[in-house]
């Protein structure tokens, strides 16, 4: 059985009415992603990659380069202008953008996980930390209270959140702890594919390190495939086996992370690596 879990081909997102020249007159060589003819923003264009089970793929680039747009489309937060994504779920194969809205929601609730930069987007701050995890479990049709409590406790322990705080509201938690609850929530249904969008941004270095260790442990333990979006080269170096470098909505370089960091080919990547070192 193939270990491929996701195949993305020609994924594009244009904000605005768009014109036939949009994609030809934007990109790194034009140093803009705004079409000079119609003013549309080419957030992402012609993104292609494969992702394998248990693999961590990094997407790096500056603000506005299209890395978050790419993940948003794959998590159904936004619809692509064109392109295809195929999700391989065991023996089943799903063309993600051909699914209807209900199927997309089901896929999102049961087979994908998402950890946002801002915990307010991923957590419900009206309910307890355990309640947040329970919500995911209930969505996947688990209706046994004791089992939900057990699983929520297990997940919080796994993400190093004290069990004593399971019934407390996450708004009383520190930023790092909120992020760990978010990870626990995303993992509740044991999704084969997890998206992490700038998960360590805004956290201090020691907390960042703990979160990154946790992500690596989870990857080893559950064989979860992950797409990590970041502008931090350190995160990419630690987590990702392969990396896409994006600029102005285009992938300008892709390959093994070590190769990209040690021997960057594109001028932008060279500047990025040099500035970090």
């Amino acid at each position: 059985m193939s270990r491929k879990i996701l195949e993305v081909r020609g994924l594009s997102r244009i904000h605005g009415k768009g014109c036939p020249l949009c994609t030809q007159h934007t990109g790194p060589e034009f140093d803009t992603n705004i079409c000079p003819f119609c003013g549309s923003v080419v957030a992402a264009h012609d993104i292609n990659f494969d992702l394998y089970r248990g693999e961590i793929l990094g997407i790096i680039g500056e603000s506005g380069s299209g890395k978050s747009s790419t993940v948003k489309m794959l998590y159904f937060d936004d619809a692509p202008t064109f392109g295809q994504a195929t999700f391989f779920d065991g023996a089943e194969q799903h063309d993600l953008f051909s699914l209807n809205a209900a199927q997309q929601r089901s896929m999102r609730n049961k087979r994908f996980g998402m950890v946002y930069q801002n915990p307010h987007m991923g957590l419900n701050f009206q309910i307890s930390a355990g309640g947040n995890i329970a919500e995911r479990l209930l969505m996947s049709d688990l209706k046994h209270y004791a089992e939900i409590r057990r699983r929520a406790g297990e997940l919080l322990s796994r993400t190093e959140v004290s069990l004593a705080r399971i019934d407390q509201n996450p708004k009383t938690f520190s930023g790092g702890m909120q992020q760990r609850v978010q990870i626990a929530k995303a993992l509740a249904t044991r999704p084969p594919l997890l998206f992490l969008d700038e998960v360590t941004t805004g956290l201090d270095l020691s907390v960042q390190a703990a979160i990154l260790d946790l992500i690596l442990e989870i990857q080893n333990e559950l064989d979860t495939a992950m797409i990590v979006v970041t502008h931090d080269l350190g995160v990419i170096r630690l987590l990702a086996g392969r990396t896409l470098v994006m600029k102005h909505g285009r992938v300008i370089e892709s390959g093994l992370t070590d190769q990209i960091l040690e021997d960057p080919q594109h001028a932008y990547t060279q500047r990025l690596v040099a500035s970090a070192l």
Partner: protein
Amino acid sequence: MNSNYELPLEDAGYSFGFLDEYAKKEVRRCILKAIAIPGYQTPYASREMPMGRGFGTGGLQITLSLIGVQDTLKVIDQGSDDSVNAVNLRQFVQLTCPGVDVTEKTEEASLLQSRHRIPEKPLTEAQILILQVPYPDALVVVEASEARRKIMHAEADYSRLLVKLYEDIVHFDEITISHRYPTRINGHYVIDPSPIPRWDVPKLHQSKALVLLGAGREKKIYAVPPYTLAEPLVFDDIAFRVEDFRDATGVRHACRCCGSTVSFLDEFSNDQGMVAYQCSDSAYCEEQQQTGSAA
């Protein structure tokens, strides 16, 4: 209502049942749709009634659309036939539906319009229970957007309601919903069964009578057809329980009038702080007193 006032039925050209025939037909069509899709909130063109929204206009429009001269009507409010709301609604129907009989006895009625209670006496296949509903959507407590609620209903996604129950158990060791208990009808739609107490929720399950629920202000009608599943939303390992009216020693309170220990009780406190209990269903209580057969 002013006892000297008579509705000028002929002068004003009111049709039987106050509503014009077209309006009644439209309501009946919505009722049919509601019966065909148990628990689904059918939108309808709720008419202006000569009373404020929230005073039972939804239930009243259903009653007026269904009632005929052969019908016998019973109107109750919080279990009582004599409360202001019940008396006024009954008088209004008597004024606008000449020839219709009214009764206080549950078994005599063919149509029962009720606010917040289901009678203690089991209903029959020949009866229709009409419940007045203030808030038709059970999801409104967890989701403000009606568009999103519609999607959640369509996909039978009630996980957020269950999270509310989860939070209740976590914080209070039990589900604290006392009325409007979310109830799943026919295995799909979860309804707000109107503000009936938990005590009445099991009466919806496989009910012999047709139960119609009308929300005039929110312009929705929904139904629990006869012999239909009506299951309160619960976890697999935590059973639904109704009010037990037991004191600290575990003894069940009895009605101060008829002595019943098997009915839903209202609690009264007097000026001295003494607490007493009395049947909420006044017709049932009177019957128990007359027959002297209280349990």
